[in-house]
Symmetry: C2
Subunit: 356 residues, 2 copies
DNA sequence: TCGATGGCCGTAAACGTTTACGGGTATCGC
DNA sequence: GCGATACCCGTAAACGTTTACGGCCATCGA
């Protein structure tokens, strides 16, 4: 009876069970499980025999079964919110990042799972849904808002996570953020040293956290150079291509128009080039232009855009390691949560120059 | 005893069980499950009462439990192989596609899960690993090779999938592919009508399936225009930026150099523009250039690149619907597997022109 | 009135793992 | 020779759902 039942299951499903594997080996499923999970209480000889048999029969443990019992999924979730789709679509930022993340997680036998919010689904309900379904062990959060409800949500349930980007939340959690302070300092120094006194700034929307940092450092740099702050020179927008074009047009239509543009968006410089040329102005000759990152779109610009670069693969690796340290049972404790700024290096092109 | 045990579990875990929810309602867990899954054998009044209680307590079923029992995960996997990373990194193709996919799946209460192969992990072993772990119910395959082992693997185990791209495999399966036939016909007509007789072609690597189609149609078009085929004008490469630059340089160094370049890669035109200008040649004036797709990088080019466009969101939607029709229990049968070409429309810029 | 039918609901057995617990040897120290 | 101690291994109970099955009650037709 019992034997019949087991053969039936194996025959029907055609899948290698841990039970089936144990039967082949003449062992109990408990021993097989212990052997495959590198736990103690298994003799080296048996362990090897089990591992070899598993490889031979192509046995890979069912994830639902092990998750249900152990509570661990062996996966980490990356939350991709496509709220501002234009900003993301033009953005190869994440693709390169994902690879680094997966590489970092692979070191600990973990897998990365990228999840997308459903149409019209709020970021928090999306997170809540997947958290209570138990899809992943930990989270990498991107696109952090100035006041991001996901952070307290995860903190209160002490679910491991690391954020790509700071917030205004005054609680202790792990994050890595791009060094916008350094970027702004370098860019503003370059421009003020060259004699620019009217510098147009395109910053991300005010809801995004780094927007505040950018504007703050912009004003600091002006003060250091004894230049009065003119709020009309600062624009907040989606920092995508079309917005870059519109904003550059507006700034250049001012009576006392800027001599330099600082565009803190991935594809904004593309639009800015277009807008300038429509006005008969050439970037790098009539107007100085500095962008944020040397992404493929900006690399296509001519003259070469002066902007900043970073190693996205390394950043992904750092995020992965920061998160892994917080997962239960990985190390003893992992120490304090990582909080770090990720430096970006200035790449001089031709676009920051002007002829006087 | 029993009551104590249950309270302990709920107190410790702090999570709302189906058992806990049933206790609150004074119902059995079977009835609760049936009510939430919209099955029969539940009175309308009870059903409503259960649904309301679930919403009130924020109960969301644990995925591992339901998957383990039912065999369904409610998710669809998108396989992202970063083998040719340069081709992908510069490629916002997928990001836009993913959104359409998720939207299509949301219609059926399914979720998209993007998975990355580990470093050095073969595409097939990656797939085999996740299939036997049972991570998803169906697959969307991209980057199909000319002879792709993943196709027979999934077919033999009759696991639902749809491929973005054809292969040379003569078996019946669902796929949607870009209409490279149409693209090549339109592009070649444009060039030959303009009098070009030496047209340089940059095609994807020979292992990629569409590479064959591209070259085939290239020769067809030449034959139609009574132009002899010169194999020296055809290059196979990664079709990324640096490769586009190298290939364009090579082609332009020929004694009888081409008067037009046809670049069937996402970012190859960016490199080509750069190479041409280094030789003192201006795209759209001295050499005609036609690209594949109007991605952000190509949109940054000046003069405007003549290339093709498609709605990636719609494509994702179509893929999702094609796959959903194959999932068990969705419809009666779903009919024959969808096999379709996805049209691309020509966008005329300035780059295809030449002065004679 | 009675058998049959159908609507609701509870019971319990799965699904495939992990893991606490206990038992059986062999080894070791005295 | 004997108790104590490792070292292995098997047993069985979880984990949270779904679902086949059976039972109860009300309704209905004759």
């Amino acid at each position: 009876m019992e034997g019949l039942c087991e053969t039936r299951r194996a025959a029907i499903k055609g899948r290698m069970d841990i039970r089936e594997l144990a039967r082949h080996l003449g062992l109990s499923i408990g021993t097989v499980s212990r052997a495959l999970n590198d736990r103690k209480d298994v003799s080296p000889a048996t362990r090897q025999r089990v591992v070899e048999a598993a490889a031979k029969h192509g046995y890979i443990p069912n994830q639902s079964g092990r998750t249900l019992r152990s509570g661990r999924t062996g996966t980490v979730g990356f939350m991709l919110t496509l709220e501002h789709d234009s900003a993301i679509h033009g953005d190869p930022f994440f693709m390169a990042l994902l690879e680094g993340l997966q590489n970092g997680l692979s070191e600990h036998d973990l897998d990365l799972v990228v999840l997308l919010a459903r149409k019209g689904e709020d970021a928090l309900t999306f997170l809540r849904r997947h958290v209570s379904r138990g899809t992943v062990d930990g989270w990498v959060l991107s696109g952090t808002q100035h006041d991001d409800p996901r952070i307290p949500f995860l903190l209160d349930r002490n679910i491991p996570f690391i954020a790509l980007g700071r917030t205004a939340i005054a609680r202790d959690y792990a994050w890595i953020d791009l060094d916008f302070e350094g970027v702004m300092a370098d860019a503003m120094t370059l421009l003020t040293k060259a004699g620019h006194r009217r510098i147009g700034l395109v910053a991300p929307p005010a809801t995004i956290n780094n927007s505040h940092i950018v504007v703050e450092r912009y004003r600091d740099a002006l003060a250091r150079a004894d230049i009065p702050f003119d709020p009309a020179l600062v624009h907040h927008g989606e920092t995508d291509e079309s917005d870059g074009e519109a904003t550059a047009s507006e700034l250049m239509a001012m009576p006392d128009r800027p001599t330099a543009l600082l565009l803190m968006g991935e594809t904004a410089p593309v639009g800015a080039y277009r807008a300038l040329r429509r006005l008969g102005l050439e970037p790098g000759r009539d107007v100085a232009v500095i962008g944020l990152r040397d992404n493929p779109a900006c690399r296509a610009l001519s003259p070469d855009l002066t902007c900043f670069s970073l190693d996205l693969g390394d950043l992904g690796l750092a995020l992965a390691r920061g998160l892994v340290a917080m997962l239960p049972g990985q190390t003893e404790d992992g120490g304090p949560a990582v909080q770090a700024l990720w430096g970006m290096t200035l790449r001089l092109g031709q676009s920051h120059k002007v002829e006087r």
